[in-house]
């Protein structure tokens, strides 16, 4: 998260709503370790990454939905064990568990 703080600050200073996605667990083979983080603002601008590019698009959609809902954070999983596997699977075959939340703390 360290590397995305400057972007988050810039967005917050401009009055934008921000959601942050963090990898909390990897099962099997995964490209990024727990703690890898990505921030998304209300305009869909992105900082950081949570995988090798496999799931970022889906994470942006989830993050924008969370910003729009105004609700609390939620867990999101991607991987071969998911129904969505063919849509947004990890190419390396692992499962990635993310926590996505609004930056309101």
């Amino acid at each position: 998260m360290r590397e995305i703080i400057d972007d988050i600050d810039r967005w917050r200073a401009a009055g934008k709503s921000v959601a942050v996605a963090r990898v909390v667990k990897i099962e099997g083979s995964g490209p990024r370790d727990p703690g890898a983080a990505m921030a998304v603002n209300q305009d869909g601008e992105v900082a950081g990454s949570v995988s090798g590019g496999c799931v970022e698009g889906a994470v942006v959609s989830e993050a924008l939905a969370i910003i729009a809902d105004g609700g609390p954070g939620r867990m999101v999983s991607f991987g071969y064990s998911d129904d969505e596997a063919f849509a947004v699977g990890l190419t390396c075959g692992g499962t990635i568990r993310l926590f996505i939340e609004p930056l309101e703390w």
Binding site: M1, R2, I5, I8, D9, R22, V24, K25, I26, S29, G30, P31, D33, P34, G35, P72, G73, R74, M75, C92, G94, F99, E101, L103, W105
Partner: protein, 270 residues
Amino acid sequence: MSLYERFRDLVKREVPVALATVIEGPGVGAKLMVSRENETEVVEGSLGHPELDRVVARDTAGELEAGRTGVRHYGPEGQATPEDLIDTPTVSVFIESFSPPPQMWIFGAVDFTAALGRVAKVLGYRVTVCDAREIFATKRRFPMADEVVVSWPSPMFENRGHTLGPRDAVCILTHDPKFDVPAVQGALASKVGYIGVMGSRKTHAKRLERLAEVGVNDPTDMARLMSPIGLDLGGRTPEETAVAICAEIIARRTGHSATSLRDTSGSIHS
């Protein structure tokens, strides 16, 4: 000031901090933060129950100390074995440690130093360039360095060697015995994880003689020296050499063989 703003300031000031977030169960999104500054531990925020806060603060402090990140499970009132609780929701807490970045000290203000500094920055190191020659050791020549220090190696290690640990690296690129020898001595006296010393095999052999002359010849110590420095990638330029050095640092840290994955078997990310 919000908890996020406190967190951001601590991270920017490179103060060790760990953040605990409820990711599943009652109170999703609630946070507790533990930081350690000047030997003092500070706990801020709450997960919604005093006993849960106490137990999670204790575990978070432990994870911070070890530099670990991961998920832990509790009962809603901090019970450490939630699997024993029947019909009670479990609280899953993601504990993330933010340790200050690892350090790389580069001795010798030469062309290779600038290239190595750039690659080290890409890898997230806090880079310090050190040379005793004032006209070479300038911030203008090494804009990528977090710090450029004009000093002989011995005082540098005497004053700050205790800040070096297993994640850190010392790269000695001077090729000059009057600088190399005290730098190697200083590095060996520290707990630094990687010590690389530049020079040909011939230079290395001569350096070992000079080190022996000053009583540095303990086999365990000598085994810590990576010299000639870097993996055998066959590169020539300062940039290629920098990649070979950084690749060696990674391989030494992970204990992996540094051969092509095509020619090995087993899990890649372990």
